[in-house]
C-alpha cells in the first residue's frame, strides 16, 4: 500500500491535478480578500461560482467563443456581487444569512438558466451532454519546455496563469495602492475612514463586486476549464472551502494562496488515491482536507485576528 501511495505522490499527473484543483479556489479566495478586508463576509462565493459556471457555458455555447463565455461568467458573478452588496452594505442585513439565501437561490437559478438555454424544446430534459467551445491550453514558451515543472505549471489554460499573477496583484493593490489603504481602513475602522471622507459603502460595493467577478471566473474554470460541461450544484462547496482558505491564510494574499494549495493538494491526492482502491477508507480522504484545516486552525494558527468591523454593517451616526 505504501508503495502505491509513494507512486502516486511521485507522479506528474498528481501535480497537474493539484494545479487544476487549486485554481478555482485560488481565484475565488484571492479575489475575495479585498471584500473581506473591507469588512464584508464573502460566504456568498458559492453562489457567485455557480452562476459563473453556468454563465460561462451559456456564453460559450451561444457565441461559440470560450472567451466570451468567460466574460458572461464574470458578468453573472458581478451581478450576484451587486445583489449581495445591496443587502450586506446598503440594507445592512446579516451577511451570513444573506449569503445562505443567495447560495440557495443560485442553486436553483443556475440549473434553470442552463436548461432554458440548452433544452431542445420547452420543458424537455437535456439528454445528451452539452459540449461547448472550451479554453485551449497555452504552452508558455521556454518555461513550458522544462521537464516536469513545465508540464505541471506552464502547460495549462490561461485562467491558471491569471491565478498565479493574482497573488502579487492582490498583494500590490492591498499594500501599495491608495485604494488598498482605503479598503483596509474601511475594514478596520469604518467610522474613522468615514470621517476622512472615504465612502465606506462605495469601497465595500466595489470590493464585493470584484469578489463576484473573480468567483465568477472561478466558476467558469469549473465548467469550461475543467469538465467542459455543467452539472447542477457543480461548485459542490468550493465556495466554502475558499472561504476557509481566507481565514486560514489570515487575510494575507500569500497565506490565502497557501491555504488554497493545501486544499487543492489534499483534493487531488484524494482523487488519485481513490482510483487505486486502497485500504484507507475513501471517506477519510474526502474528510481529510477539512480535518486538516480544522486542526491547523485550532492548534497551530491560533485565534484568527478578524478585520475589526467584520460582518458589521456600517451606519453613519446621527442617521
Amino acid at each position: 500500500m505504501l508503495e502505491q501511495i509513494v507512486a502516486v505522490i511521485l507522479s506528474v499527473e498528481l501535480y497537474t491535478a493539484v494545479v487544476r484543483m487549486t485554481t478555482p479556489l485560488l481565484l475565488a479566495a484571492l479575489g475575495s480578500i479585498l471584500a473581506e478586508r473591507s469588512g464584508v463576509v464573502t460566504f456568498s462565493m458559492e453562489a457567485m461560482m455557480l452562476l459563473g459556471a453556468v454563465g460561462a457555458i451559456i456564453g460559450s455555447g451561444l457565441t461559440g467563443s470560450a472567451w466570451l463565455g468567460l466574460c458572461v461568467a464574470m458578468l453573472f458573478g458581478a451581478l450576484v456581487g451587486l445583489i449581495y452588496a445591496v443587502w450586506a452594505v446598503s440594507i445592512g442585513a446579516n451577511q451570513i444569512v444573506t449569503s445562505v439565501a443567495l447560495n440557495l437561490g443560485a442553486l436553483g437559478l443556475s440549473s434553470i438558466l442552463y436548461v432554458m438555454t440548452f433544452a431542445p424544446a420547452k420543458g424537455e430534459v437535456i439528454e445528451q451532454v452539452i459540449q461547448v467551445p472550451s479554453l485551449p491550453a497555452w504552452k508558455i514558451p521556454l518555461l513550458g519546455d522544462i521537464p516536469v515543472i513545465g508540464t505541471v505549471f506552464f502547460n495549462q489554460i490561461p485562467i491558471v496563469y491569471f491565478g498565479y499573477l493574482l497573488i502579487p496583484i492582490i498583494w500590490f493593490i492591498l499594500y501599495k495602492t491608495t485604494w488598498g489603504l482605503k479598503v483596509r481602513a474601511v475594514g478596520e475602522h469604518p467610522h474613522a475612514a468615514d470621517t476622512v471622507g472615504i465612502s465606506v459603502a462605495g469601497v465595500r460595493y466595489i470590493s464585493v463586486v470584484i469578489s463576484g467577478i473573480m468567483s465568477g471566473l472561478a466558476g467558469a474554470f469549473l465548467s469550461i476549464g475543467m469538465l467542459n460541461t455543467f452539472q447542477e450544484g457543480m461548485s459542490a462547496g468550493r465556495g466554502f472551502i475558499a472561504y476557509t482558505a481566507i481565514v486560514f491564510g489570515k487575510w494575507e494574499p500569500l497565506g490565502v494562496a497557501l491555504g488554497t494549495v493545501l486544499f487543492g493538494a489534499a483534493d487531488a491526492l484524494q482523487l488519485r488515491l481513490q482510483a487505486m482502491n486502497l485500504a484507507i477508507p475513501y471517506q477519510f480522504m474526502v474528510a481529510f482536507p477539512y480535518l486538516v484545516t480544522f486542526i491547523t486552525l485550532v492548534v497551530f494558527v491560533g485565534k484568527a485576528v478578524w478585520p475589526a468591523s467584520y460582518g458589521m454593517p456600517f451606519q453613519r451616526e446621527g442617521k
Binding site: 442585513a93 445562505v100 440557495l104 436553483g108 434553470i112 432554458m116 472561504y243 486552525l297
Partner: protein
C-alpha cells in the same frame, strides 16, 4: 399599567402583527418575482402555483407528504434559531442532523429486543447526544478561546457527513450471520460495532430499524386509543382511520409541535433561555448582569446541537426507518432559512417549516403538471429569505414603539423610561 388607553392596545397589536406580516409579505413577493421567472420559462405561473398548492395540500396523501417533510425542518429550524438568539450561529446543523440520524439508526438496529416505549426515547436520546457532541466542540472553542463558530461548525459538517458515509459502509455486527451478501466469510472486528451497513445487501445502506423503534402511525393509534372508544362506532371515523394517508402519517409532526412548545418555554419562561437571549443581544451587558457568558455559550451549543440531532432521529424513526447515502441532504442547511423566516420564534419556525415542507412536497407535482422545474422552489425560498430579512430591518416595530413612548411621555410630561426587557423580536 392596567388602565392603558384603548388606542395603545391597538398600536401594540399592530406592532406584534409585524412579526407575522413581514414574512407573509416576503413570501408573497417571492412568489411574485419567481412568477416572472416562470413566465420567462414559458409557463403560466398561476397554473404552476396551483399545481404546487395541490401537491402540498390538495389530497390527504399530499398533506401527509408535507407533514413528513415538515418534521425534520422544525427541529433544525429550532436548532438554528435557538443558537442564533444567543449569538451562536450554528451552520453545522447539517452535520449534527446526519450524526443524529446515524446514532438513532444504530440504536434502532442494535437493541432489537427492547420494547418500543424504551427504544424510541433511547434512539432520540442517542441522536440528541450525537448532535450535541458535534456542536459542543465549536461551542467550547468559542466560549473558551474565542473562535468564530461559523467556520468551525461549517468544517465539522464535512467531517461528520463523511463519517456518516463511512459508517454506512462498515458491516453492522450480526451474531446470526457470518457471510456477506456475496458469500464472503466475515471476520467481525470491533469496527463492526460502529458500522451500520446491512450485511445482506451489496449497497451501502443500513438495515431497517426494528418495528418497535418506528414511530407509531396515526392510523394505528386512532384505532386503539381513547378516541376510538369515543367515536369508534361512527361511520366517518372508521373512514377517516382507514384512509391510507392517515395510515402513512406518524406522530412526527405532533412531536415536532411539542418541541415547539417546549422551546417556547425554554426561551421565554426559563432562566436558561433568558440568559441565552441576554448573551445574544449583548455579551458585555450580560456579563455585567452577572451571567456566566462562556457557560451560556456552551449550554446553547449543546441545546442547539441536540435539537438538530433530534431532527435526524425524527426522520429515521418517522419516515425512512434506515439511513442511506445522502440520506436527507440540506435538512440542516435549510434550518437557517426556516429559522429566519420564522423570525427566530418557535411558533414562527413551525409555520415557516410548514412553508418549506409544502414547497418541497408540492414541487414534484408542479414539475409533472406544468413542466416548471423543481429548481424554481430554491429561487422562491431564497427570495423569501432575502425579503424577510430586509423587511425585518425596516424595523417598523421599534419605530412605532418610539413614537408611542414619545406620545406617552408628552402626555405624562416626564422622561421616557428605558426598556428593561430583552427585546423578543
Amino acid at each position: 399599567m392596567t388602565d392603558k388607553p384603548k388606542t395603545y392596545i391597538w398600536q401594540a397589536l399592530l406592532e406584534k402583527s409585524f412579526n407575522i406580516l413581514i414574512p407573509v409579505f416576503a413570501i408573497l413577493a417571492a412568489f411574485l418575482i419567481s412568477g416572472i421567472l416562470i413566465i420567462a420559462w414559458g409557463a403560466n405561473p398561476l397554473e404552476a402555483y396551483k399545481a404546487l398548492l395541490a401537491g402540498a395540500f390538495g389530497t390527504p396523501n399530499a398533506i401527509a407528504t408535507t407533514m413528513t417533510r415538515l418534521s425534520p425542518l422544525v427541529f433544525t429550524g429550532l436548532a438554528v434559531s435557538y443558537g442564533y438568539r444567543s449569538g451562536f450561529f450554528n451552520i453545522g446543523a447539517e452535520g449534527q442532523f446526519f450524526l443524529g440520524a446515524l446514532a438513532a439508526t444504530w440504536v434502532g438496529i442494535t437493541f432489537t429486543n427492547l420494547p418500543g416505549w424504551v427504544l424510541i426515547p433511547l434512539c432520540a436520546l442517542a441522536a440528541a447526544l450525537a448532535g450535541a457532541f458535534l456542536a459542543v466542540i465549536p461551542g467550547l472553542l468559542k466560549a473558551l478561546r474565542g473562535f468564530n463558530e461559523v467556520l468551525t461548525t461549517l468544517l465539522l459538517n464535512y467531517v461528520a457527513i463523511q463519517y456518516f458515509e463511512w459508517a454506512l459502509r462498515i458491516e453492522h455486527y450480526r451474531p446470526d450471520i457470518n457471510v456477506t451478501w456475496d458469500d464472503k466469510p466475515i471476520k467481525w472486528t470491533f469496527l463492526n460495532w460502529i458500522g451500520v451497513k446491512d450485511v445482506t445487501q451489496p449497497f451501502p445502506q443500513s438495515p431497517g430499524i426494528v418495528e418497535a423503534a418506528e414511530l407509531p402511525k396515526l392510523g394505528t393509534l386512532l384505532k386503539t386509543g381513547l378516541l376510538n372508544q369515543l367515536f369508534g362506532q361512527a361511520h366517518w371515523y372508521e373512514e377517516f382511520v382507514a384512509n391510507p394517508a392517515v395510515n402513512r402519517m406518524t406522530l412526527a409532526p405532533i412531536i415536532a409541535l411539542v418541541f415547539v412548545v417546549i422551546m417556547y418555554f425554554v426561551l421565554f419562561r426559563m432562566t436558561v433561555g433568558f440568559q441565552a437571549r441576554a448573551v445574544g443581544v449583548n455579551p458585555d451587558a450580560a456579563r455585567f448582569m452577572g451571567i456566566n457568558v462562556p457557560r451560556t455559550i456552551i449550554i446553547t451549543s449543546l441545546i442547539s446541537g441536540a435539537l438538530a440531532g433530534l431532527g435526524g432521529s425524527i426522520e429515521v424513526l418517522g419516515a425512512q426507518h434506515r439511513v442511506i447515502p445522502n440520506f436527507l441532504v440540506n435538512a440542516g442547511f435549510d434550518g437557517i432559512p426556516v429559522a429566519l423566516i420564522g423570525q427566530l420564534h418557535p411558533a414562527g419556525v413551525f409555520l415557516s417549516a410548514l412553508f418549506f415542507g409544502a414547497l418541497r412536497a408540492g414541487a414534484n407535482k408542479m414539475q409533472i403538471l406544468t413542466q416548471v422545474p423543481i429548481s424554481v422552489v430554491y429561487v422562491i425560498q431564497a427570495l423569501a429569505i432575502l425579503f424577510a430579512i430586509a423587511g425585518a430591518l425596516l424595523d417598523l416595530q421599534s419605530k412605532i414603539k418610539i413614537a408611542r413612548l414619545a406620545k406617552q411621555t408628552e402626555a405624562a410630561g416626564e422622561q421616557p423610561v428605558a426598556e428593561k426587557e430583552v427585546s423578543g423580536a
